[in-house]
Amino acid sequence: MSVVVAASGVRMGYGDTQVLHGVDFTVRQGEVSCVIGPSGSGKSTFLRCVNGLEPVLGGSLRVLGEEVGYTMGAGRYHPWTPKRFAAFRRNIGMVFQRFNLFAHQTALENVACAPIHVAGRTPAAARELAMRHLEQVGLAAHAHKRPHQLSGGQQQRVAIARALAMEPALMLFDEPTSALDPELVDEVLEVMKALARGGMTMIVVTHEIGFAREVGDTLTFFADGVVVESGRPEAVLAGPRHERTRTFLASVL
């Protein structure tokens, strides 16, 4: 299986605070890679580095065959322009903790937005495509509602449909259920499970250990800006090798 994300020694920080102290991480095509860890461990920051929302300061981060943010030319790496970043991100979908739907657009317009304004489809074709994706997440009946008229779970499903409408090769989930009321978590997880069964390559930063156990191909534990351990979810959950992992799992399970 080909490698989609290959991180080695990735370092990142803001000013004097170092957030990532050399992260090694690999995701292969079709894999569902779950990431857990205490807050402030750098797992969300790492996810944001993968699609270039945060700049990497050291190490190497290759995503979909490219060094994120740089193109090799004449023996040197040249930094990307905003336009180049935009072209790179077209192939990577991202789902945020706070949904981040476009507040002035209906659910349908949210999903159709990128196909029209990024992929250059005609509005009619984009709306048809958007409707198909909304059906997929079970929200066709709510297509013409604005985000504030939808529940958190529905908003997050629209956000997933919006990301999928660009037909990405990789999906990033940044704590997709953390901002949801407990009874709304399952509807979002169901959509993600269906996506995983369909063979989508996914990185899921989550606190849902049950989801990681059931759907994940790998489970990675982040703490203090490094990967503490990584492996098959059932193996990591049943027999964590590091003390740090044991104390974390004891506190969340």
Binding site: L53, F88, R90, M94, F96, N100, L101, A103, C113, M166
Partner: protein
Amino acid sequence: MRTEPIISPEGRPIPVARPRHWGRLLAGTGAVLVFGWLVLLLVTNPNLDWSAVGRYLFDGQILAGILVTLEISVLATAIGLVLGVLLAVMRLAHNPVLRRLATLYIWFFRGTPLLVQLIFWYNLAFLFPVLVLRVPFTSVGVKWDTNEVMTGFTAAMLGLGLNLAAYFAETVRAGIQAVDRGQTEAAYALGMTPARRMRVIVLPQALRIIIPPTGNEFISMLKTTSLVYVVAGHDLMTNASQIYKSNNLIMELLIVASLWYMLMTAVATFLQGRLERRFGSDAVRLVRRSVTGRMFLPKVTA
């Protein structure tokens, strides 16, 4: 206030007396007396010729002036809004040159009196006797006599419009910054360039926040146009002053002009109320969605 009688323990309804607010009554009566006395002083003033007010209220020159005042107000507000959005986007740009130029513009136009700017534009011919618009290094182009172009009207439109842009840029900037930062990230994550994100996601939402204050800007502009009289813009104030300079009915014509300004303000206030009802709820929701305390809506005055 309670309208039903209180039921006593024995089951009898007992009426409740109306409360008396003696303090309120006293303050209200006093204020009415003072206010009424001031109005009476004006109305019964023997030096004021009220029939002249009536005569000039619908005078042709006054009505023509109202039309010009409205034209200048609308055009200057339009220039101010468009240029204000441009300046706000420049101020928030990553490009340090654009950012500083916008800051410089805003500083200059807010830092110099509007009266100075109006007179400056009106007298532009002293600096540039002719205005030429030409394709560089060719003879293809057009040429105007500055004195013909820079009438009181154009000077007023430019002066007021460029000035408003400087003030309005700050309002727009606040509106742009009020749009939830998460939506910008979502737009980037979907593959939008910064410019497209601004046009498709941020500005449509910022405008909903900005539109209600534009009503205030327009109302303010209606009256600021009276400054145009220094460059003889043939607006309401200019025409009123021309009449009183010939017949010396200064107070009467000021009253005529004021009545019209008040009417225009009342109409504009009514329209603004409708505008706010149309966009206000959206604005409130967008503002509430924003995350940090950095967000503020600028205070505007009518």
